[in-house]
């Protein structure tokens, strides 16, 4: 019957229970029915996960699906295909589309499109302010009722302290999280890459770390004032993480994520690639010290989630002079491999912590189901092949966005199967029809 599966003999990771053992996972009617050794799969179709790692389905809480308005960069069909191939069972998509997702009708229509063409679950994030203009609050209550899971003006920070204060207060009525993109625009304006020796050599106006730190400080202060639920996305500097660590120690309900590219690349990539615009991203790639601080914050629990900030672009947006290129990296199809190769294999984080960062915590932050393999949870499951050796080839991406600075990187480990509600959406590195 559809929605039944028996995944046998995999290394089962469940961060909620702390389980890390070779076991079977039985799925019935799209839900986890049993996990353990010596389970009888009965008549359910079998997936042999010998040598593989079985995790609760990965959730990316920050992607850009670009639909509507920028379908040449990505749409819900291609973006969710990329997600399935990348091992994600759910993605939360940012509202900076055209028009922006700032009302319930937009949320409803996104969810309808996702049901029609989506390969994985799609969770819309609504705009905080009308047209993302930073002035008046958008109808967040209506959007929440229509299915929006969180709110953000991503692409831009919530414009003023007062608007942020009102939004965080207002969202407390609905128990939803506000996701802010922390950036002090007067400091970052005109900047192309991180400020420092590399920007001096490359000849760019730099974006100082303080452009982020100041915004993080503001956001934390307003979160303290309102006691609202704040999530800081794509943090990239040591000082930002120090501030979050401090805020958490004060008991504030603040969470944060970092991206795979800020964990694996430094500003040096700009010169090493002779100004490849695929290294242009906001926030910019930072210093070696920042990357180390991000890794430490992953290990010590300061960072709650890893999110890709999947920002697909058309080649026309990138095959231009550096200043004219769009910011962003197409990240859904390299995220898992980068995390496995650069963080799990070297022992920076364990599989359990990876599942916490990429599944359990994103589910909690967004307030959605999933994130665990306990019984009766939805059977959203990601199976990882830790030994899969490959070289990153953007021409094989299912995302329309081929913009990656990781082209040619040799990586070991990748998503091997993606199961959503008990249905196999990707297996053996191929989408199922």
């Amino acid at each position: 019957m559809s929605g039944d599966l028996f995944i046998r003999n995999g290394r089962v990771i469940d961060p909620l229970s702390g389980r890390d053992e070779i076991a079977g996972v039985l799925v019935r009617d799209g839900k986890i029915a049993a996990v353990g050794c010596g389970i009888d799969g009965g008549a359910a179709p079998v997936i042999d996960a010998t040598g593989k790692v079985v995790m609760p389905g990965l959730i990316d809480l920050h992607v850009h699906l670009r639909e509507p308005g920028f379908e040449e960069k990505e749409d819900i069909e291609s973006g969710t295909a990329a997600a399935a191939m990348g091992g994600f069972t759910a993605v939360a998509c940012m509202p900076n589309t055209e028009p922006p997702v700032d009302n319930d009708a937009m949320v409803t229509s996104l969810l309808k499109r996702a049901r029609e063409v989506g390969r994985v679950r799609v969770y819309p994030i609504g705009a905080v302010t009308k047209r993302r203009a930073g002035k008046e609050l958008a109808e967040m209550g209506e959007m929440k009722a229509a299915g929006a899971v969180a709110f953000s003006d991503d692409g831009s920070p919530v414009a003023t302290s007062e608007v942020l204060r009102c939004a965080l207060e207002y969202l407390k009525s609905f128990g939803a999280t506000l996701i802010d993109h922390p950036e002090e625009l007067s400091l970052s304006e005109g900047g192309q890459i991180n400020r420092g020796l590399v920007s001096t050599i490359a000849g760019f106006r730099g974006i100082p770390a303080e452009a982020e730190t100041i915004a993080v400080f503001r956001d934390i202060a307003i979160a303290r004032l309102t006691r609202g639920r704040l999530h800081l996305t794509h943090l990239s500097t040591k000082e930002s993480l120090d501030l979050v660590r401090q805020a958490k120690s004060l008991g504030l309900e603040i969470t944060c994520d970092v991206t795979p590219h800020h964990l694996t690349l430094t500003e040096d990539a700009v010169l090493e690639t002779a100004y490849d615009t695929n290294t242009k991203v906001n926030p910019p790639l930072r210093s070696k010290a920042d990357v180390e601080a991000l890794k430490n914050a992953l290990a010590d629990g300061t960072v709650d989630a890893i999110a890709t900030d999947h920002a697909p672009h058309h080649v026309d947006d990138k095959w231009v002079e550096f200043d004219y290129a769009e910011n962003g990296i197409s990240g859904l199809e390299t995220s898992v491999s980068l995390i496995l190769d650069k963080l799990v294999r070297p022992g920076v984080i364990s599989y359990l912590r990876m599942a916490e960062l990429m599944s359990l915590n994103p589910a909690k932050i967004l307030g959605v189901e999933g994130g665990t393999l306990r019984e009766r949870a939805p059977a959203d499951i990601t199976i990882i092949d830790p030994d899969f050796e490959h070289s990153v080839n953007p021409r094989q991406f299912l995302s329309k966005g081929k913009n990656t600075p990781f082209e040619g990187w040799r990586l070991t480990g990748a998503a091997w199967a993606t199961i959503v509600g008990g249905e196999v959406r990707m297996k053996d590195r191929k989408l199922t029809s």
């Binding site: 005109g190 420092g196 020796l197 920007s199 490359a202 000849g203 760019f204 002079e321 550096f322």
Partner: protein, 307 residues
Amino acid sequence: MALKGKDILSLREMSAEDMETILSTARSLKEILSRPIKKVPTLRGKVVCTLFYEASTRTRTSFELAAKYMSADTVSIAPSGSSVQKGETLADTARNLEVMGVDVVIMRHSVSGSCHFLAKVLDCPVVNAGDGMHEHPTQGLLDIFTILEYKSKIRGLKVAILGDVFHSRVARSNIWGLTKMGAEVAVAGPSTLLPPSIENLGVKAFNRVEDAIEGADVVYSLRLQLERQTKSLFPSKREYHDMFGLTKRRLALAKEDALIMHPGPMNRGVEISTDVADSPRSVILDQVTSGVAVRMAILYLILGGRE
């Protein structure tokens, strides 16, 4: 005697050997400029294209004359009066030029890294004639050539580079070139116009221009790039001149035979006073002459100097 790589993009990436090759070639070609008939057939049948997205008098004319003195044909494209105004991309413009048979593209552009980008787009050689705040490698080479003509060595010379280092591609190319050849380089200017971590390029950095000028063999005044000053980096031209300008009084701190240089165009009375610019120690016009010789050498080595 061929150079490494097909392009001339930066002095950071150029080896000291390649710099020496260009300088010694320029030395032998310079003589052509003083002939009654300034024409040799070396590059006959070659097409040199200048593609200038930013205004230029000296550099563009210098490249074109260098090409013409060696019998190459030249075409020049500027944003006004071309498809660039209709929104054509750099990649499209350049590839169209290439398929018409252009042998080298010399580009000036306001965006740093644009010549590196162009070199990825084109098969033919690309010469950087100034990209944003990044580099101006042929200017760096012609400056070194000029210094060599007077001082006959670079190693051990004290060079003071003054002013708007932040926005200056000339400063960056000179820093890379001069330090590679063994000069002691000091930069000086207001903190807002010194880029971060500039000392890591192997130079001393000062806020008082006097500290850099003290005992210098070469005093290099940079143009204050008024068109790039988008923020309040200094309060007024008057204060700039008073506090940081190259004046006779400050110049007295340099060695008696110190050379005075400036890449042009000058803002007289701002970064350099007229009496200094026009003083007998000024080699500002020699720089311009050297420019033609150095660019002849570069075109020769790129287009004709290969087996």
